[in-house]
């Protein structure tokens, strides 16, 4: 009896094994339904493993081939690549200057499919090892948890650097680096007890970047390369809510202007008052600090004319020694004549490029589905050469970008996945200025993005780990009074 049972068991085992074997494979001429889409992307040599899943699969096999070296990984519906194997593979790929070829076989609804192989091109141009972002649910007026996080892109370690649960649920704006340097950064903590949290040379300070002459406390900002100054906009911001499908939230300024803050003398240098009364926002310094790029639009009645507000890209001199603004502003890109509005200009650290967001109107591109990244070559002084980055942009919002310190990479927040939840994508810009297909920040569990209810806002790259954590921010919030600033009287050359 026992023998029969054994034979019967053996029969069942082999029968099941045969059912599950790879002997009946349907070969397809399509790419696998990967999530996230990591097919044919360019990777930095220092990126964490690109773990992925195959949508709808109950069994997955992935073969990573580099010349004659092959590694096979299996999983139920996802592929997790061990860190050590991954590192060796990337280094060898960069050394040999050969692509990694990935062949995926997946079992979907009982059938095994062999998909077209795709390539991972590895470049020795490293990505800055840290990226910071704000984790927030993509809401409207109300916020719940807001956390600023720092993620090591070389592995999966994420650290919370500020948490609004420790600061009485105060609103926190995104974290911004200067020169991609971890010892130079700021973010705004709003409400009573808040201020601009400045991390400079490893020391944390809290500043009240507001005087009664200004429209508002400092909002959008960017550091001068010296780290002594930062340029900010001051804005009277009003939210509005769209009624049509696909549109969501509109945020517009009823007034806006620019200031430069001097962090050594706690002085605010306002934009020259003899310029016409216009909307000015999203200022950034040029790579050498001699210019300030900003977005400018003529004043109009809002919200009635909201669909007609278009910002051009302008620049004005800034004299670091004299601490003065220039006397004339140049139009760098007349976006309004192209029917678009410029937002969030960011100059590359090597001074060659300016990456900006082009929306069809307004100043809040994050909820504009048509929003794209455009690249402006600053070397061409005479003609305006714009690369509309067709291989980078999606049909959803692509914005909130920042550069890597070597100017070869940029990171941006894209809602391409579902139109709602933004995620950080990395894009390689090669020496010829060609942008490669971007890829999303890898996660240990690739399903994480499917489950999460938070957006990754304003990802910013950094060359190192930040010298503070959420407890430091809590202490600063509770125990330190914000430093006052004073307005400088004459502000232009």
């Amino acid at each position: 009896m026992k023998r029969y049972r054994f034979l019967f068991g053996l029969f069942i085992f082999f029968h099941l094994a045969a059912c599950n074997s790879l002997s009946h494979i349907t070969v397809t001429d399509t790419y696998p339904p990967l999530y996230p889409d990591y097919s044919d992307v360019t990777l930095p040599v220092n990126i964490a493993p690109l773990n992925f899943m195959v949508t709808g699969a109950t069994a997955v096999k992935a073969e990573l081939l580099l010349e004659d070296e092959s590694k096979t990984f299996r999983g139920r519906n996802k592929i997790s690549i061990p860190m050590r194997t991954w590192r060796r593979l990337l280094q060898n790929s960069a050394l040999l200057q050969k692509d990694i070829v990935v062949s995926v076989t997946a079992k979907i609804q009982g059938t095994w499919y062999q998909y077209l192989p795709f390539h991972w091109h590895v470049t020795t141009d490293s990505l800055d090892p840290y990226v910071s972002y704000r984790l927030i649910e993509p809401g409207y007026e109300v916020w719940n948890t807001i956390r600023l996080a720092e993620r090591n892109v070389e592995n999966f370690r994420e650290r919370i650097i500020a948490d609004n649960r420790q600061t009485d649920k105060r609103c926190m704006n995104c974290h911004t680096y200067g020169n991609q340097d971890p010892s130079l950064s700021f973010f705004h903590l709003r409400g009573p007890g808040g201020g601009t949290v400045l991390n400079r040379e490893g020391k944390l300070r809290k500043l009240d970047l507001h005087t009664e002459e200004l429209l508002s406390p400092a909002i959008y900002g960017n550091f001068h390369p010296s780290g002594r100054f930062a340029v900010f906009s001051t804005n009277l911001i009003v939210p509005g809510f769209h009624t049509k499908k696909g549109e969501r939230l509109e945020v517009y300024d009823t007034a806006s202007d620019l200031i430069v803050a001097d962090f050594e003398e706690n002085v605010i240098i306002p934009f020259p008052s003899d310029f016409p009364n216009e909307f000015r926002t999203f200022p950034v310094f040029s790579a050498d600090g001699s210019y300030i790029y900003y977005c400018n639009a003529p004043q109009t009645t809002l919200p009635d004319s909201i669909f007609d507000v278009r910002y051009d890209l302008l620049r004005i001199r800034f004299n670091e020694q004299e601490r003065t603004w220039g006397t004339k502003a140049d139009t760098v890109f007349s976006a309004s004549s192209h029917g678009v509005s410029v937002c969030h200009p960011k100059t590359s650290p090597d001074g060659r490029y300016l990456l900006f967001t082009a929306a069809s109107y307004g100043t809040f591109p994050i909820w504009h589905q048509e929003t794209d990244l455009w690249l402006l070559d600053l070397q061409e002084e005479e003609t305006v050469i714009i690369d509309r980055l067709p291989g980078v942009n999606s049909n959803r919002s692509d914005t909130y970008h920042s550069w890597s310190s070597n100017s070869r990479w940029f990171v941006f927040a894209s809602k391409r996945d579902d139109g709602m939840y933004g995620k950080p994508y990395f894009c390689y810009l090669d020496k010829e200025g060609k942008a490669h297909k971007p890829f999303v920040l890898p996660q240990k569990n690739p399903q994480k993005y499917r489950h999460t209810l938070v957006s990754y806002n304003l990802p910013e790259l950094s060359t190192g780990k930040l010298p503070f954590g959420s407890s430091d921010i809590e202490r600063l919030y509770r125990k330190t009074a914000a430093e006052k600033v004073y307005l400088k009287k004459t502000s232009h050359e």
């Binding site: 409207y140 007026e141 109300v142 509005g240 809510f241 769209h242 696909g246 969501r248 579902d418």
Partner: protein
């Protein structure tokens, strides 16, 4: 006397537990629905780990597990009765273990009675009971262990685990142990020190939480930054009652005295307890929650029947009633038969909390303001002070995204809901609609809302609700609900010029006769500028409304106190609202 005591012993629990069931099942059922809608228990390991990653997390996890059953109020009431009854049983057993006392039988009812009274406040969470029950169970277990060393070992090993599971209520376990260690005081002190050390260690490990939060542990209260003293009192009661029992036994030396004390204490507990329960029971809130529940479940008739029994007065209840009337096709006729609370009782203005946007979002949803409804659901969930998610809000978000053809976002929410016990079936059914235009077209509600939703883009303005409704109506002149809300808004704001202007937009709507409230408004308007309005009015006004106006005018002109005089026969007319409601 002994017989009397025996009777008390079974009679009190037999009264107490069914009373809780009846209270929550019949008098307070919508408080249970209210709790259910502001939490989301997920069956995923991620949710489990997310919850248990802080002290008291397991109690909260079990609390949300239980609260999901509150979707069915009778089941919720039964659970509440069982858990509060269980608290009594444990306290009684602990008291008996410390020292057998007949007199103290009623004292063990004090903590569950106290928690019952706390639960009359909708912000005290039912899950807190778990955080009390866990240490009581382990306290009882420690008392069952006879061997002192084994008992000590049990307490010292269990304390950290119990702290992690139940939060600061572990103090019941350690302090309870300390109280019983008269011979070995050091052991008791050591157990207490261990508890304090655990609180401090938790602060070091979880620096993002303030210390009081780590001492509190589980979520007894919806607002985690608030630490109601009632919780400390509850802990104290759980601790001192077994000790008081021991004291009573020593004081009351004869069985007769003990029985008399038991009777007196029973009266002393139950009479003030019942009084406190009555004082803390908030039936006005229960009423709002009831209307909200009917609207959520689309039980329009139930809302109207409730209003017929007792007229609602709060803006939220009235707003729910108006929606129910409109969905039943009765608003334009009968809205003034009920108390009207101005435009806030039609479409309440947005506030940053978790209750009002959820209710107002329902109105916008049924009107076809899909984006606004989505915003309100999102904002309501974001406003939840304890950072939890809401099953109701996620369901609505899935629906609005489905209607807006944002299938990937809808899929995300449905995927989450598929990991719940009671939303799973709906989520699975709804998943079949994703991207399936034909199937959606066959869905009565979603297809209608797709037809009605805003097709032109404008920024919505809560200050100009009539403009928004007007735009919606002009897109589809057959949109009855938009028309009726638009006219109701004008009537409630007493803006009769606009009423007249918008009234004409209804030319394409096919009413069998003019709705009563419109007839009243039109006749009144006409009477303002014409000498003989009854004869000359060009609108099809029914005879009884004409007679009514004459009677109203007569009383209004001649009565000393017209408001009082008109109340009896004309309080259900628009004219009465126009003249006397603020």
């Amino acid at each position: 006397m002994n017989k009397l005591f025996k009777t008390l012993r079974w009679l009190l629990p037999c009264l107490f537990v069914p009373a809780i069931f009846l209270f929550f099942g019949c008098l307070y059922p919508h408080h249970l629905h209210y709790h259910e809608q502001f939490q989301l228990f997920l069956t995923t390991p991620e949710y489990f780990f997310e919850m248990i990653l802080r002290p008291g997390g397991m109690a909260d996890y079990l609390g949300t597990f239980i609260t999901q059953f509150f979707l069915f109020s009778r089941v919720g009431a039964l659970l509440m009765a069982l858990f509060l009854g269980g608290m009594y049983v444990l306290l009684r057993a602990i008291s008996q273990r410390i020292m057998t006392s007949k007199a103290s039988i009623a004292l063990s009812f004090i903590p569950p009675f106290f928690y019952w009274i706390l639960l009359c406040n909708e912000n005290f969470l039912p899950g807190g009971i778990i955080a009390i029950l866990l240490p009581l169970v382990f306290w009882l277990l420690s008392l069952i262990i006879k061997n002192n060393k084994k008992q000590m070992l049990f307490v010292f090993i269990l304390t950290p685990i119990l702290y992690w599971f139940a939060g600061g209520s572990v103090i019941l376990f350690t302090l309870g142990y300390a109280i019983t260690q008269r011979k070995y005081i050091f052991r008791g002190v050591a157990a207490l020190l261990l508890t304090v050390a655990l609180f401090l260690l938790a602060k070091v490990l979880l620096s993002q939480f303030p210390l009081p939060r780590l001492i509190y542990g589980a979520d007894y209260f919806r607002f985690p930054a608030s630490y109601p003293p009632a919780v400390w009192i509850l802990w104290l009661l759980c601790l001192i009652i077994p000790s008081v029992s021991a004291l009573l036994t020593r004081l009351l030396k004869t069985p007769v005295r003990e029985t008399i004390a038991a009777v007196l204490l029973s009266l002393a507990v139950f009479i003030p307890g019942t009084y406190m329960l009555a004082v803390n029971t908030n039936l006005q809130k229960e009423e709002i929650m009831a209307y909200d529940h009917y609207v959520r479940m689309q039980q329009w008739d139930k809302a109207i029947q409730r209003a017929d029994k007792k007229m609602p007065t709060s803006p939220l209840s009235v707003a729910c009633l108006n929606l129910s009337l409109c969905k039943s096709g009765k608003m334009s006729d009968y809205m003034f038969w009920y108390y009207q609370n101005g435009p806030e009782g039609l479409i309440p203005t947005f506030t940053r909390d978790f209750t009002l946007p959820m209710i107002t979002g329902e109105i916008y949803y049924h009107l076809g303001f899909i984006n606004t409804s989505q915003r309100f659901a999102f904002e309501a969930m974001e406003s939840l002070p304890n950072y939890w998610k809401s099953g109701r809000a996620l369901k609505r978000l899935a629906e609005t995204n489905l209607i807006n053809r944002e299938y990937k976002v809808a899929q995300k929410y449905l995927h989450i809901l598929e990991h719940t016990l009671f939303y799973k079936a709906w989520a699975k059914r709804t998943s079949e609609y994703l991207g399936n235009e034909e199937l959606i077209a066959s869905h009565k509600e979603w297809n209608t809302l797709r037809k009605y939703r805003s097709k032109t883009d404008f920024l919505d303005s809560e200050q100009e609700k009539d403009m928004m409704l007007g735009i919606l109506l002009q897109q589809d002149l057959s949109h009855y609900m938009a028309y009726e809300y638009l006219l109701a808004y004008c009537l409630l704001t007493k803006d009769l010029d606009r009423f007249m202007q918008y009234f004409l937009l209804g030319s394409e709507l096919r009413y069998a006769r003019l709705p009563y409230s419109y007839q009243e408004a039109l006749l009144y308007l006409w009477s303002l500028s014409h000498d003989n309005p009854i004869q000359t009015v060009p609108y099809p006004i029914s005879d009884h409304i004409k007679r009514n106006l004459l009677s109203y005018q007569n009383t209004y002109v001649n009565a000393l106190r017209p408001e009082e005089a008109l109340k009896k026969n004309h309080a259900n007319t628009y004219w009465y609202y126009l003249h006397f409601r603020k």
